[in-house]
């Protein structure tokens, strides 16, 4: 990744396009699951969404492998796509907005308390 790509996110656009091209090859019910996965993963995105790229790549990889096995999407993901996404994001250590807000709040409170105490 070069500086230009970092600033414009053009590498992300390219990656998104590559994901969507791969997703188009999937059977219809798998494509529907892919849409749902993207929705459930978005709360875990950082500012640019860059942290989600490897996670989405993993999820898409699983869909591709299992689709080519001829498994039904229900055998693969069951009813709990949200839980699957949380486990994926958690497993990869994705930090969501809430975590960062909480950290910031903690820092600010600590700073204020420090000022009072000092």
């Amino acid at each position: 990744m070069n500086f230009w790509e970092t600033m414009t996110g053009s590498d992300l656009t390219r990656e998104w396009k590559a994901f969507e091209t791969r997703a188009k090859e999937l059977p219809a019910d798998y494509r529907a699951a892919w849409e749902e996965i993207k929705g459930h993963l978005s709360p875990y995105a950082d500012f640019t969404g860059r942290n989600l790229m490897p996670i989405l790549d993993n999820a898409l990889g699983l869909l591709e492998e299992t689709a080519s096995d001829g498994q039904s999407i229900h055998e693969v993901l069951g009813d709990d796509i949200e839980g699957f996404c949380a486990a994926l994001a958690g497993g990869e250590g994705a930090r969501n907005h809430r975590d960062r807000w909480r950290e910031q709040l903690n820092r600010n409170v600590a700073k204020k308390l420090g000022r009072l105490g000092g």
Binding site: G61, E64, E65, T66, Q71, V76, L77, G78, G91, E92
Partner: protein
Amino acid sequence: MDDLTEMLKGTLEGCVLEIIGSEETYGYAITRRLNGLGFADVVEGTVYTILLRLEKNGLVQATKRPSGLGPPRKFYVLNDAGREELARFWAKWEYITSRIDKLKEGGR
């Protein structure tokens, strides 16, 4: 039996370690093995997220191998750290089940 998922959650990782410990295997086979044991609610996605975690924590060694058709499959074996973790899992399991059995029998 329905609604086992909540109770299973904490132990599923140990179950997957045990299955990998007995022979080199891959996600689909692990899922079917668990289903065969009677854990019908376990789907491949669940096993997949566990496998990612095990790999990230350095408990398994993964090798990609071509499969008959479609993309290559990832096969997993336990490494030394994985075998230690598995032993710890069974020790904890032993502890919990012995305590709970005691409770059930009304002992104190």
